[in-house]
Symmetry: C4
Subunit: 221 residues, 4 copies
């Protein structure tokens, strides 16, 4: 390589190190901040072990919301990891697409808390669904952009492009169905979305004995 | 290596970089957030140096709780480091097992604060113990899964598998004994658990002159 | 290389790893903490879907402020990334210049919230502008210092020095114009600054078809 | 290297990657959390631009405390970086020594806020000084332990050992003098400590023209 080409490459090329660092920072903080919403019940009204258990059980919707937000954040972190495993370069635009994805991630604690406080209304489901849609859309744009700018090896792209896109579209279709169920009942809607999330998160419990070939296939998606 | 094999490996293989980054993010935030529970005493009632010292001493249970939570988080961070020193690959399932471990880590500030506010009750000890159990269980599953999927070199596994598993089981047994002591006295229970934690954290004070061979052995556990 | 030279280099040289790690930590936390300012509306006064939508819309200035702060933090993160892509070494002084840059980044949540709460006053615009000026100034000093101490390859410096400096000066000139507009109307001033930020953040929407040569040029700036 | 030696080294050896990651996480969060102590002044009482400026100026002691805590955290981050630039290995004990150092770092937001709220008392200065002492002591122990366990190259140790130790001892002596000044006047005490911190942080302003040889020497300290 001539010295000139070397200089040229150094200026044009950029690895994904900074993108991964800022993303894991935002994800790490988001995952940990969620618990701050759960406050220890106040002391004065509590006199017996029974009172305390009662007060603790009163937090159960807070715990459910916490768990849901943690799972959702986790699902999108795994999705983000799957993409950046194959993305080998970046530019200013990819930086910004990723930042907008992180914007939607960092809003999740708010939209989930809003959902948790008003489980009997339709509007918070619409807000929560918009957040999920924005996360999915930015993740899709992220991958599409990285492919167009050739930040993904062509051989790998041929193998993983379709599964990666399909995964986002299927998940988003399920979220849309979940959101629409609110016209029947908000509770049904939330229950459906939670089930979809559980399916992504706990897939490993049902896949214990699958062959190594299938494992690779799962990893790609 | 043929080009095809190379592509295949790139898709199937995945290093542990992202897992370590998100984990250190969550641990780092958890360790730092703990201090937010300690509030500077309010100004109006304080008129003399004596008042201030009194107000400060009133925070002593908050400091104790902070210290306990920091130690516990530290112990599990060290345990996590010990495992990932030997784990050389990952897949989607390991991502999720690790995320569930982090879920239990991020709940620790809540369960410890709950324990600190109600030291004279049995129920918070049960909650705190459940948290310790969940952390231990996920760490155990994490290691077991990594071994089964051959993410650990066989030679190394032969040497470290038993000590790593034994360490978790011994610690969890001690926590169980500690939790059960609450039927005699909640204070005794908390004191016992703190002593166990101190033992793990301050081992270095008593091991100063041990031989280098023993040091390696300790490192493995 | 003799052993002595090797020792000498190890002591004198220092890579930028720690600087990047602490910077991405601060940026990651700053980006995520911003959302904490948006609180879920309180339950008691809300009886119907209509009430809830009303309460949600009441948060719109909070969302705008959140969005503005996220964009601004993002712009400076991208600017920081652009510089450290070329900076290959560091010393104690660069550590401190970078820390003072991070100080200005970490104040942004406060100055933006101050701006959002008092949109009809001139003073918060002055405070916000001071913050933007400080960030720009530290970024400029950072680059100038790195160049003077030869932490940037000379061939690369010849190509990127001017665009990097020009970018900061143009952005700061626009911010100054924006700030001065407050003497006509605070709203006009805020709107102008938001438009400038949008221009930097969403450049990628209008640049889709540009040639790869131009892309490199943009990356440099 | 035989296969056996290789396995042996893998088990015994451990790099400092995780220690740096958790440390930069804690430092990054601590630096950013500090600003949360500064709250935007409340709206109701503010009617004119004059009122707002007045309310803002009322925050000046909060800003001073923020600045002081940021500088102190920065000084110890730079000190930590200086050491780990030369430390090339780690073990379980070093993990714990570093965690206890981080414990003292994470307490700094509290002790500084305590100092800022009660500037006219002696006791908060004692508390703050204890925190500085703990940070310095852990940093000293960290380096001493790393040297004893041969995690530092002998050639490098010969050159940097003395300056690194001397730097901590000089800084701690100055802090002690500062703390003792509180018996004359708490304000004098705080002013002295701030001056000492400024001296470490802004050294770069006065060192611009020093020779490259001296720069290396400074870097070592």
């Amino acid at each position: 390589m001539t010295k000139e080409t070397n200089t040229y490459n150094k200026i044009a090329g950029q690895d994904t190190g900074r993108i991964l660092a800022i993303s894991d920072g935002v994800f790490g903080v988001a995952l940990t901040l969620l618990v701050l919403e759960i406050r220890v019940p106040f002391m004065d009204s509590i006199r017996s072990e029974q009172d305390l258990i009662q007060a603790f059980l009163g937090l159960k919707s807070k715990f459910l919301v916490y768990f849901l937000a943690f799972m959702t954040t986790g699902i999108f972190w795994v999705g983000h990891s799957s993409q950046y495993k194959y993305i080998e370069g970046s530019d200013r635009n990819l930086n910004w697409i990723n930042l907008l994805f992180l914007l939607s991630v960092s809003m999740l604690p708010f939209t989930t808390a809003f959902l948790g406080d008003y489980t009997h209304f339709k509007f918070p489901i619409a807000v929560y669904w918009c957040n999920l849609l924005l996360m999915g859309a930015m993740l899709y744009i992220n991958w599409a952009y990285a492919c167009r700018r050739h930040f993904v090896d062509e051989n790998i792209k041929a193998l993983v492009d379709l599964p990666l896109r399909r995964r986002i579209i299927i998940a988003q279709s399920l979220y849309l169905i979940g959101a629409l169920l609110c016209f029947i009942s908000p509770f049904l809607s939330i229950a459906f979305i939670i089930l979809v999330q559980m399916n992504y998160a706990f897939a490993f419990l049902s896949q214990r004995k699958k062959s190594s070939r299938r494992a690779i296939h799962d990893n790609m998606e």
